[in-house]
């Protein structure tokens, strides 16, 4: 049986999601953002919520997320996505609202907005891309940068006495009464991608059912910032990041 026969007689197991439009992303080759965007487009399509979904884009590499997924978007100021999402969700309770934020956006400049939106139990989904670095601005230290990790602003490695410690935002958010679901996932293997997608689906279901705030942290790679190949980045993430940021549900009620 040749290729043409399989295409002709077989079933399609995977197809590019319709909501992921034709634009090529500006992301570097192998960037985790692309996988998470793809999952979001698949889910919004599968759940049939494209007409009522509003995404809030951050500042950072994902600032242009709105260029790729064909739903309505609002581009927020750096760190303010949860505040923007709060008003969008409260004023439009029939809509499904999600923020898409990096570690600088969510865990540094937008810490207050993130914690308070979650503490109010806003019915929103927070997608948190944690790649331990500022990608867009050229690889500077993020609040989640590991101790010893070299970045443009910690060229000799992050030191606790100078830069403090990597912050575990999901652990913090799981402590709040307003969150109903806090989970840490990754997208480095096919199995991890399937699990991450399942988690994001649950987060969207929570928002629709008005159960409170759901946070899905995706421990991610930034191969340009880390100065590794995409494949090596995945290996480095598995052997270094997961120790500090272990995968799994932190809260699921």
């Amino acid at each position: 049986m040749n290729r043409e026969d399989i295409i002709k007689n077989g079933t399609i197991v995977y197809n590019r999601p319709r909501l992921l439009n034709e634009r090529n992303t500006h992301y570097c080759p192998g960037c985790s953002h692309g996988v998470v965007h793809r999952i979001l487009a698949e889910l919004i399509e599968e759940m049939g919520i494209e007409d009522k979904t509003i995404g809030i884009a951050p500042v950072g590499c994902a600032v242009f997320a709105y260029n790729y997924i064909d739903v309505d978007w609002i581009e927020a100021a750096h760190g303010r996505a949860p505040a923007v999402a709060t008003a969008v969700s409260r004023l439009n309770p029939d809509n499904v609202v999600f923020t898409y934020q990096g570690d600088g956006d969510l865990a540094a400049i937008g810490t207050a907005e993130t914690i308070h939106a979650a503490n109010r139990g806003e019915n929103i989904v927070i997608i948190f891309i944690n790649n331990a670095i500022y990608g867009m601005t050229g690889g500077q230290m993020a609040p989640t940068t590991l101790l010893g990790q070299k970045t443009a602003t910690t060229p000799y490695g992050r030191k606790a006495d100078i830069n403090g410690y990597p912050i575990k935002m999901s652990d913090l958010l799981a402590q709040l009464d307003g969150t109903c679901f806090v989970t840490r996932q990754a997208v480095h293997t096919p199995a991890a991608v399937r699990k991450a997608k399942k988690a994001i689906r649950q987060a969207f279901e929570n928002a629709i059912a008005k159960r409170g705030t759901s946070v899905v942290e995706i421990v991610s790679t930034c191969n340009s910032g880390w100065k590794l190949s995409p494949a090596k980045s995945n290996e480095w993430m598995a052997s270094n990041m997961f120790e500090k940021y272990p995968l799994g549900d932190l809260k699921n009620i």
Partner: protein, 367 residues
């Protein structure tokens, strides 16, 4: 039906007027001397009647970004604060202006700089009228002098801001926020429906609802050619506003030999001073800019053709005087009298200042 006259503070009037306007959402953070806006709204519980959302945010920064979010969905949303809090909001205000969103921001000014004082001031004139945040933008700035205007300018501010898709600010001083006066509240009107919003704001991010094109609200454009086009469009809007929306009031200007320019509650003090002076034969007139941006340059220029001199009276070190000087084009002398730090001059002090700057006027009058 007879008009119902109520007695209340300017800050309370803003809260009542917002509900009656059909405002969709208020997002604020407590700061003296404007906390009554949020307090009154919480007490009135409009979410039970009109469905208006009221939320105490975690900061002024969060509050203005909530306004940005609400405005991006086509809702009539507002925030209020006082000077230090309005400084914090400047980031969000710049984004709202850049994304061409309607919104209403209220600044009940207190003395600065820094933490300053909780007493009244007009020292945020520059901040409000010259931009405030980063980038080339303007706000429509309304300066109320009475509690009645506090109530009326909520509707006017929203209407102008939706008409031009640009944020409007009510720039009130602490006096007009805290002072109790009689007020006739505007007639209640319903909040706009979803369908009305989609017709009025086809750009709003409301979910696609079968729309072919998705809506994206953003202020980002990395291609210089397109970014300049965006800037030119904003400037055209501002030109349009400048040509059509200048508002001011004149008092005793027909025969005036000298003019006082003052806004907000200070204009009322000046009016009293002018009436006292006129009883002594001193022909002074008053022009009170109601829109501080767009500023009544033409009107002041017209007055400067017949007047001998102009005095600006402000609760600051001399801010509006720069616009008055631009209007006058060096034709006649322009002086400034101001108090700072929360001190409010009385009519006598205004006249003393006037006499100091224009001794010839006093000498000629029958004093």
């Amino acid at each position: 039906m007879a008009e119902e006259i109520k007695l209340m503070k300017g800050n309370e009037a803003i809260a009542h007027a917002a509900i009656r306007y059909g405002c969709d959402g208020y997002f604020g953070y407590p700061i003296t001397p404007q906390s009554e806006v949020l307090e009154t709204l919480e007490e009135l519980m409009p979410w039970e009647t009109t469905g208006m959302v009221v939320l105490q945010a975690e900061s002024e920064v969060a509050a203005i970004n909530m306004v940005y979010g609400g405005a991006a969905t086509g809702k009539a949303v507002m925030t209020s604060s006082s000077s230090p809090g309005v400084s914090l909001k400047q980031e969000g205000i710049s984004y709202i202006a850049a994304a061409e969103l309607p919104a209403l921001i209220i600044n009940v000014m207190r003395g600065g700089p820094g933490l300053g004082t909780i007493q009244p001031s007009q020292a945020d004139y520059f901040q409000a009228t010259k931009g405030g945040g980063h980038g080339d933008y303007h706000l429509i700035v309304l300066a109320p002098a009475t509690v009645q205007e506090m109530a009326d300018f909520v509707g006017l501010g929203f209407d102008l801001s939706f008409k031009y898709r640009t944020p409007a600010m009510i720039l009130a001083d602490g006096i007009v926020g805290q002072m109790m006066e009689k007020v006739v509240l505007p007639e209640p009107r319903p909040r706009r429906t979803k369908e009305e919003i989609e017709i009025q704001c086809p750009w709003a991010a409301t979910g696609r609802h079968g729309r072919k094109e998705r809506n994206v609200v953003t202020s980002l454009e990395l291609e210089p050619d397109k970014m300049e086009v965006n800037n030119i469009r904003l400037q055209e809007t501002y030109k349009h506003i400048s040509d059509n929306e200048v508002r001011f009031k004149e008092y005793y200007t027909e025969d005036a030999e000298y003019i006082i320019v003052a806004f907000g509650s200070v204009a009322r003090i000046c009016l009293k001073a002018i009436e006292d002076a006129r009883s002594n034969g001193l022909k002074i007139g008053l022009i009170r800019p109601i829109t501080l941006w767009p500023f009544p340059y033409k009107e002041i220029n017209r007055l400067s053709k017949t007047a001998k001199g102009i005095l600006t009276v402000e609760l600051n070190a001399g801010q509006m005087i720069e616009d008055v000087k631009l209007a006058v084009e060096c034709k006649i002398p322009v002086y400034h009298f101001g108090r700072m730090g929360g001190i409010v001059p009385n009519p006598g002090e205004v006249l003393t200042a006037f006499n100091k700057f224009f001794p010839e006027a006093t000498n000629n009058a029958n004093l």
